[in-house]
């Protein structure tokens, strides 16, 4: 690669990273303003962080989002892991291609369509067991949306896995269920953890499904933020964004390091 091309490439990388990060940087900078305008810096102050700390409505929304996120991610991991086993280990059977399509379709289907379809299900007069819109409906929607992502992650791990380990255990008389939990689960654990984190993030971040399926008692964080964006902008939202950016950056860095080292150790042990 000649020097000119190298410089061009570096400039392109730098430009795109600037495009990705300058807007976020602006949010962070103006969270420290003392004024009321979200794009003018009127002296340094932490008043919007203080406002954030005393915003009870926001705290309720954050707690609800965390709860739904954790529950939906856990359900998505169970569903996705089971689906991955079906996809990778069951071979071809009647309906196997339909199953693959059904698992991955929610990942690409526009959210308004998925949201509308689930509203119709949860408000259907013939299905009173489903209790209408609310937290349960949002949980189901998020688990359904994320199961496919988890399935894809786990399936690729299962495909790489050396099956000799499982067969050895089976030959030695270990029952299949125990083989799964003692041999298979530790090997696919990084994919399960990555899948849980991805599902948790998607659930925390989802606005469209949560908004369509929410009732007055189930305002998640994105639903609240969206409502506030329509009712006048305040630097408090910048402060919220800054907190989220810091938390997510720390979490992603930590998770990345953890997964990498776990993968390395796993690879060493299996060799």
């Amino acid at each position: 690669m000649n020097g000119l091309r190298g410089w061009g490439g570096r400039a392109w990388l730098l430009g795109v990273y600037a495009f990705l990060y300058v807007p976020i940087l602006c949010l962070v900078v103006f969270s420290f303003t003392a004024g009321e305008i979200t794009t003018q810096f009127d002296g340094f102050s932490l008043r919007w962080y203080a406002a954030l700390a005393h915003d009870a409505e926001l705290h309720r929304a954050v707690l609800l989002s965390l709860r739904i996120g954790a529950l939906a991610a856990s359900a998505a991991v169970v569903l996705g892991a089971a689906a991955a086993v079906v996809l990778v280990r069951f071979g071809a059977y009647f309906g196997s291609r339909f199953f693959a399509g059904m698992m991955t379709a929610p990942m690409v289907m526009p959210e308004v369509v998925v949201g509308l379809s689930l509203v119709l299900l949860f408000t259907h007069p013939a299905l009173p067991l489903l209790s209408g819109r609310g937290v349960l409906a949002i949980w189901v929607a998020h688990a359904t949306l994320c199961a496919g992502d988890v399935a894809v992650l786990v399936a690729s791990r299962l495909r790489e896995m050396d099956r000799a380990l499982e067969e050895a255990a089976l030959d030695l008389g270990c029952p299949p269920l125990k083989v799964f939990f003692v041999i298979t689960v530790p090997v696919i654990a990084p994919a399960l953890i990555a899948g849980w984190l991805l599902a948790f993030t998607l659930s925390m971040d989802d606005f469209v499904l949560a908004a369509m399926l929410s009732d007055p008692g189930s305002t998640t964080l994105p639903v609240l933020v969206f409502a506030r964006l329509h009712h006048g902008l305040k630097p408090e939202i910048n402060a919220l964004a800054t907190v989220i950016v810091v938390v997510v950056s720390v979490a992603v860095l930590a998770a990345n390091r953890l997964l990498l080292s776990a993968q390395r150790r796993g690879a060493l042990r299996l060799r």
Partner: protein, 323 residues
């Protein structure tokens, strides 16, 4: 789907592991039943409601299955499709606002432009990440993913501040300070703002599949091309580009499909003027309480998206089986 060619899996039904006998059935039953109940059945309900009659009730429609005597009967009401068709084909009252036509045209145009921009920005970007030192690649990729993990709504909100059309908008402040313009530019609440928001939000979806594809490119092929006298530009056009076709298709579909149905970005950055399919469905479902119409629009959009989705599915599968 082909089984991976490891010796263990090549054996016919090599003892099943976690899924043998009745265990197999139970493992399969859970995801099958869940997805049938919460994805396939709701989808059938959309089709059903699109063929029903709007009514002031809770929920606001009369199902075509509602029989008077309780006997099973099916009376589909195609009026939602008729209204939609009249609107799209201009058979309605002359001079009427054709909001659905505008919504479909805007959505398709914006999604196509966003896909094109993401490809033009993302391809060189992914290419140079894939050619970076192996030790740097992981960090570079993580930097692409990091904004994606932070709140989507708040990233769109950031652009509301940047593009603001008054003199306090950040870009306008910069342009005014530099003396480039004398009056603040109307940057927010138009199609251009929506396009910028889409490119910003969807760029990682384009970069990741392209990177996954380009990083596997066998550099010996490029050396061979050079040894045989091809200039770098020719080698790129004849070797690199054709070999990365799958990444291009997968990335493009991952941007195009959600962009067609996008609601949040046009709503926050588009103002009242930029109608899109996502906003039409949202309004008919919400304020207008016209659920049959919302369902009919959704059905029409999904029909339009079947071809791109099949394309994505085929290329995703091909990537797994390929080298």
């Amino acid at each position: 789907m082909k089984a991976p060619a490891t010796p263990a899996a090549a054996r016919p039904d090599a003892a099943s592991g976690p899924g043998s006998g009745s265990g197999r059935l139970w493992v399969g039953l859970l995801p099958w039943l869940w997805m049938l109940s919460f994805f396939v059945l709701p989808f059938a309900l959309i089709v059903n409601v699109s063929l029903s009659t709007p009514e002031l009730a809770v929920p606001p429609y009369v199902s075509p299955f509602a029989g008077e005597s309780g006997a099973p009967a099916f009376h589909p009401d195609p009026s939602a499709y008729r209204r939609l068709g009249d609107e799209l084909l201009a058979r309605g009252a002359a001079g009427a606002e054709r909001q659905y036509l505008a919504a479909f045209a805007n959505s398709l145009l914006l999604a196509s432009l966003a896909t094109l921009c993401c490809l033009l920005i993302g391809y060189p970007f992914a290419y140079h990440i894939a050619r970076a030192r192996a030790s740097a690649r992981n960090t570079l990729l993580m930097l692409v993913m990091l904004p994606f993990w932070t709140s989507f709504l708040l990233r769109v909100y950031a652009w509301m501040g940047l593009l603001d059309s008054s003199e306090v908008g950040l870009i306008n402040q910069l342009l005014l300070a530099l003396g480039v313009v004398a009056e603040p530019l109307p940057l927010l609440y138009n199609g251009g703002a929506v396009l910028v928001g889409m490119v910003y939000s969807y760029l990682p979806f384009m970069v990741l599949p392209l990177y996954a594809n380009l990083v596997k490119l066998d550099l010996r092929l490029l050396e061979a091309a050079r040894d045989l006298g091809a200039r770098p530009s020719i080698a790129f056009l004849r070797v690199t580009l054709p070999l990365s076709r799958r990444g291009i298709v997968a990335g493009s579909m991952l941007v195009f499909i959600p962009a067609v149905g996008e609601f949040v970005i046009p709503d926050l950055l588009g103002g009242g003027g930029v109608l899109t399919i996502g906003r039409r469905i949202w309004d008919d479902f919400g304020p207008n309480q016209d659920w049959p119409m919302a369902a009919a629009v959704a059905v029409l959009m999904v029909l339009m998206l079947i071809a791109p989705i099949m394309l994505l599915h085929r290329h995703g599968r091909a990537r797994e089986d390929g080298p």
